[in-house]
Amino acid sequence: MNSLPELGTRPVLEARGLTMRFGSFCALDSADFSLYPGRALALVGESGSGKSTCAKLLTHVLTASAGHIFHAGRDVTNLTGRKAVLEYRSAVQMVFQDPFAALNPAHTVDHHLTRPLALHRPDLSSAQRREAVADLLRAVDLDPAITLRKYPHEMSGGQRQRVNLARALAVNPSVVIADEPTSMLDVSIRLSVLDTFRDLKRERGIAMLYITHDIATARYVAEETAVIFRGRIVERGPTAQVIDTPRHPYTRLLLAAVPEVGSPFGEGNSLAPLAAQVRESCEGPAELTEVSPGHWVRLARA
């Protein structure tokens, strides 16, 4: 196990040696990370790298093959009983990739937000509940007067994703897991949606896991970034360091593949040879090494 950067606060959610096997296939291999209040960790990797498996383990959709999950210091790896699972799930909320599929097309925004409040905060009067719904919408930069009566199909993808975030916040979670929350949105509006995630996380002291294949956006939401490749975290550290001084070949490949304005294809910058080389070189045993304070890289054993 590796020591973690001291941040002065205790982590809300911790994964220790978290492992998920499907038959002989290891989807997630001994993942260690911690989520802290008011901070975000970006988990970056390609399709099939294990990042969504990680989300499913943390939300108890899947049960880990090995390793532990701690929530507020308590081991929650094997929750038993409906009550314990429900309690855990209201503390650890999820925002999904597809803003279209995550909302019920037959219900208004008002219904989507009122229902979790009615279930999880039965103490509120109906007037207080109405006020709480309006507050949630304002928190995600939507105008309650316009939005409340709308059905999902009357809103754009970005607006729907804001509603999904508001729905997650309705139950006052301590952790929000956002699985590719902007990958189905236009590039042009991603930043404004991510700003909302970032601001709310800070204001409400929420610990966030931001799962993405778009490493360019990590900088705008997450203080820390972990790069995952074939089920293993290969590099982890402060986001700016990981992006500006990447140490692992896969991190470099990922960065090189990010579309960049004004560098046309061809002209000797083909990525395919590098990609093939990296995929080959990442086989075999390797261990995490601290290359600078808080910046860990999994390097092949010499």
Binding site: E46, S156, G158, A216, A257, G262, F265
Partner: protein, 276 residues
């Protein structure tokens, strides 16, 4: 520029709604040269996909082409009847969609799906079809030995390669690609588009590339167009458009791309979605 292979003139597409007609594409005019890759960018609802669908005559009611002309290699596309259209599609123009990898029939072997397509276009002879399928798969970097596998045995990126191989099978003059890599991750996206870029040099087809990702478009396309509320508001080379955007909207669109390495003091534009 060489003689255009595709000429779109004053194209108008309307959607019939309960409140009358809504114009989704307004007098759009552009050309694509032989071998050229032209990108159309814009936000959701800007009309870019409607243009692509109209060119392929894939639009369905409530969408109607209400004006203008489309000419591909001498063919008046809007004048084709259903029978002519079936022969023309895939032979002269093919289409690769965002979720094209899901367009493969999950219960048919890949080879059977190539055979269907070849037979529909008058290619017969089992051996000939298998040989041509093998060549096409090889061309997009899929081992020909895998032609008898089922779609689920391939990754998303590989399935998208198979669809591209199928789109190139009859040597079309124009391939319309509507967000072909949006569902793929960045490394696979880059590898796939590099391959398409190399193939178009080799085979000489033209591409109409639809995307919301301006940065990607600037890397892949010879010329780029920006659409806003149904209008093509700007059209030029990527370098010219980056250096000197003619429209305020275009400038803001470029400035909204989150850069990997932001320069100190650089101001990024936070765009709100354009009201439809």
């Amino acid at each position: 520029m060489t003689e255009p292979i595709l000429s779109v003139r004053d194209l108008c597409v309307d959607y019939a709604t309960p409140n009358g007609l809504t114009r989704a594409v307004k007098n759009v005019t552009f050309d694509i040269a032989a071998g050229e890759v032209l990108g159309l960018a814009g936000e959701s609802g800007s009309g870019k996909s409607t243009v692509a669908f109209a060119i392929a005559r894939l639009h369905r009611p409530p969408a109607f082409i209400t004006g203008g002309s489309i000419n591909l290699a001498g063919t008046d596309v809007l004048a084709l009847n259903d029978r002519e259209l079936r022969a023309w599609r895939w032979r002269d123009l093919s289409v690769v969609l965002q979720s094209a990898m899901n367009a493969l029939n999950p219960v048919l072997r890949v080879s059977a799906q190539f055979a269907d397509m070849f037979k529909a276009h008058g290619v017969s002879g089992k051996a000939d079809i298998r040989a041509r399928t093998a060549d096409l798969l090889q061309m997009v970097g899929i081992q020909p030995e895998r032609m008898d596998d089922y779609p689920h045995q391939f990754s998303g990126g590989m399935r998208q390669r198979i669809v591209i191989a199928m789109a190139l099978a009859l040597r079309p003059k124009l391939v319309v690609m509507d967000e072909p890599t949006t569902a793929l991750d960045v490394v696979v996206q880059r590898e796939l588009l590099e391959e398409v870029a190399a193939l178009r040099h080799k085979l000489g087809f033209s591409v109409l590339f639809i995307t919301h990702d301006l940065a990607l478009m600037s890397q892949f396309c010879d010329r780029v167009g920006v659409m806003l509320r149904g209008e093509l508001i700007e059209l030029s080379t990527p370098s010219a458009m980056i250096a000197d955007p003619q429209q305020d909207y275009t400038r803001r669109l470029w400035a909204s791309i989150p850069p990997l390495h932001p320069r100190p003091g650089e101001t990024l534009v936070r765009m709100k979605e354009t009201p439809q």
